[in-house]
């Protein structure tokens, strides 16, 4: 019998694949950023010829790296927290309700970010905004960032579902 996406096992597998893909994308972006920044500096100071539009490309890559990385961080719930009272509160409220409350809050916040990023992308598309140096449509970047932001929300929700289905909602890696 084949597994359906509603099956926690199938969801876990899909999420693992999504995490690997997002990790690969973000790592390639970071690698390009490093090479481009290095080439830009060497080009500027050694050959008096910096990479054309280098700063603009690096800025765009930074946004893509952040939002592709966020998908993974959200799925694994690896955000920075103050853990001083987490354990007693979790015990008081109950692990599952605690997980649902804190994670729902995170989902709402991430949805807010995704929504405003989409609005930005849509606005730049409607106004046909161009970047200053490369004269590239701004929505290429804002649109991709918005898509990554939505993927982040989806991976966040999927991560919560996998954790709830597997255990008591405790934080931790879901792909190990």
């Amino acid at each position: 019998m084949s597994e359906t996406p509603a099956d926690p096992g199938a969801l876990r597998i899909i999420l693992q694949k999504a995490i690997v893909t997002l990790e690969t994308i973000s790592s390639v972006i970071i690698l390009i950023m490093m090479i481009l920044t290095f080439a830009d500096v060497i080009g500027r100071y050694v050959f008096h010829s910096p990479v054309f539009g280098g700063t603009e490309i690096i800025g765009a890559l930074l946004a893509l790296a952040i939002f592709s990385g966020l998908g993974v961080i959200n799925a694994r719930d690896e955000h920075i927290t103050v853990e001083l009272f987490e354990v007693p509160i979790r015990r008081l409220v109950g692990p599952l309700p605690y997980h649902i409350i804190t994670q729902s809050f995170s989902v709402v916040c991430m949805t807010l970010i995704a929504a405003v990023m989409f609005e930005q992308a849509w606005e730049s598309y409607l106004n046909n905004k161009l970047t200053v140096v490369l004269e590239m449509p701004v929505y290429y970047v804002t649109g991709t960032v918005a898509v990554f932001a939505v993927i982040s929300v989806i991976s966040q929700v999927a991560g919560i579902a996998v954790r709830i289905s597997n255990s008591d909602g405790r934080r931790g890696p879901i792909d190990q």
Binding site: S26, M34, G69, S106
Partner: protein
């Protein structure tokens, strides 16, 4: 002011309850701003802040310096750094602990992560100190405290974040961190000497390092030293900006790792790049939250009302900075470094500017204070990292072991506070 105080109270409650710090700050900032100006304006503000900062070229310094640190961390250079430090200081009583301090300083300078330094040095230095019957208190305490040097000695991510929030030159902040960083290394070395003088049994004399191992250690650490000099010297000499230096640093670190036999497979590259990308995402979500929260705090008028109080209480610049330090020290017991910087700095920014406080000096003071928080109870992150790597060492022993270094950090703080030139001398020359 009332709205801002309410916002702060809610934010602290959310953080203490275990809500993710980045999301909590962002949501409180968003709702608070909407409370003052309406939902549409608040949505526009969040959109502008997140979009602009996510694409800010100058902020690419964060992932690239993180990447540099990851490459260095993965290149197994810690052993050579430790041996080189021991070659220099091994002839003194407590030589292994002294070498640990020096190696921590050197490793964290290029690695940039306090936690990675503490974890790595636990593995490298602890077996040596154990072999020579060093007391757990001295050995583990030295490692935990030595790890904190990473956030002062440049490149330092907390300094970058402070620079962004306070709108200060990141390159100058890095340069300003050099002398205080060296001062702290000196004070830590002094703390070790004092400890072993008072309790000689805690650190028996160890054997001298074999000549061949000394040579290997020097050979191994030379490239890292050169990279550090290029990165910092480049910024100091005005050859390149902090962002450009980060690109050079990351590339140089990759070359060093490759030459040391690492980064030879796609998988090894992937591990490093993913680690850097994930850390970047984690930091940026906190940064987005902080910048949104700052907008709300500014709009509420709280920083300006605080300015009135500062005038009324006749605190003066030094009094104001001392007051902020006390708050930061208390926050340091619970919050981690970046959390303190992003929550505290925006609130006092107008008052600090109005009082004509040197913001480069203040940045160094803030980082120094948060450094103390890394080893003070109840949440001394570095202490817990050492404990996790060395489960056989009692937590109480580590906390007792760091107490001498906490005293050293306080002395360092007082020295930088009363002699601001320690932080401002190099930037003033570089300007």
């Amino acid at each position: 002011m009332t709205t801002a105080l309410l916002g702060f109270a809610i934010l602290l409650m959310l953080c203490f309850a275990g809500f993710r710090v980045g999301f909590a700050t962002l949501m409180v900032g968003f709702v608070g701003f909407a409370f003052e100006r309406g939902w549409t304006a608040s949505l526009a503000m969040v959109a502008q802040q997140v979009t602009e900062d996510a694409q800010n070229y100058n902020l690419s310094v964060i992932p690239l310096f993180i990447l540099m640190g990851v490459f260095i961390y993965r290149s197994d250079i810690s052993r050579d750094l430790y041996d080189a430090a021991y070659a220099a200081l091994g002839r003194f009583r407590g030589g292994l602990a002294l070498a640990t301090v020096l190696a921590c300083g050197g490793f964290s300078a290029v690695c940039g992560s306090t936690l990675a330094t503490a974890a790595t040095m636990s593995k490298v230095a602890m077996p040596q100190m154990k072999a020579y019957n060093y007391s757990d208190k001295l050995a583990a305490g030295t490692i935990a405290a030595g790890g904190t040097l990473g956030i002062m000695i440049p490149p330092s991510v907390p300094l970058v974040i402070y620079g962004i929030i306070a709108e200060q030159d990141i390159g100058l902040l890095f340069i300003a961190g050099v002398l205080p960083g060296m001062l702290l290394v000196g004070l830590f070395l002094l703390a070790v000497s004092l400890t072993v003088r008072l309790d000689p049994d805690s650190a028996p004399m160890a054997d001298e390092l074999h000549a061949e191992r000394k040579r290997k250690a020097v050979r191994g650490t030379t490239p890292v030293l050169i990279l550090f000099i290029i990165v910092l010297g480049g910024i100091y000499g005005g050859v390149f900006t902090a962002t450009e230096a980060s690109g050079i640093g990351a590339f140089g670190a990759a070359v060093i790792a490759f030459l040391r036999g690492h980064l030879r497979t796609v998988m090894q590259w992937r591990v490093c790049l993913v680690e850097a990308a994930m850390t970047t995402a984690k930091i940026f979500i906190v940064l987005f939250g902080a910048l949104v929260f700052t907008q709300f705090i500014n709009l509420s008028g709280m920083p300006y009302e605080l300015l009135d109080y500062v005038d009324e209480w006749e605190l003066g610049p030094a009094g104001l900075v001392a007051f902020i330090c006390v708050i930061a020290l208390m926050m340091g017991m619970v919050f981690e470094t970046i959390g303190i910087v992003v929550l505290l700095v925006p609130v006092f920014l107008p008052a600090l500017f109005a009082m004509d406080v040197d913001m480069i000096w203040f940045g160094i003071i803030m980082v120094l204070v948060t450094e103390i928080g890394l080893i003070t109870p109840p949440i001394g992150m570095n202490v817990f990292v050492v404990k996790s790597v060395l489960p056989e060492v009692r937590l109480g022993d580590i906390f007792r072991g760091v107490s001498t270094y906490i005293a050293a950090l306080f002395i360092g703080l007082l020295l930088v506070f009363f002699f601001p030139q320690i932080a401002t001398l190099l930037p003033s020359i570089a300007r």
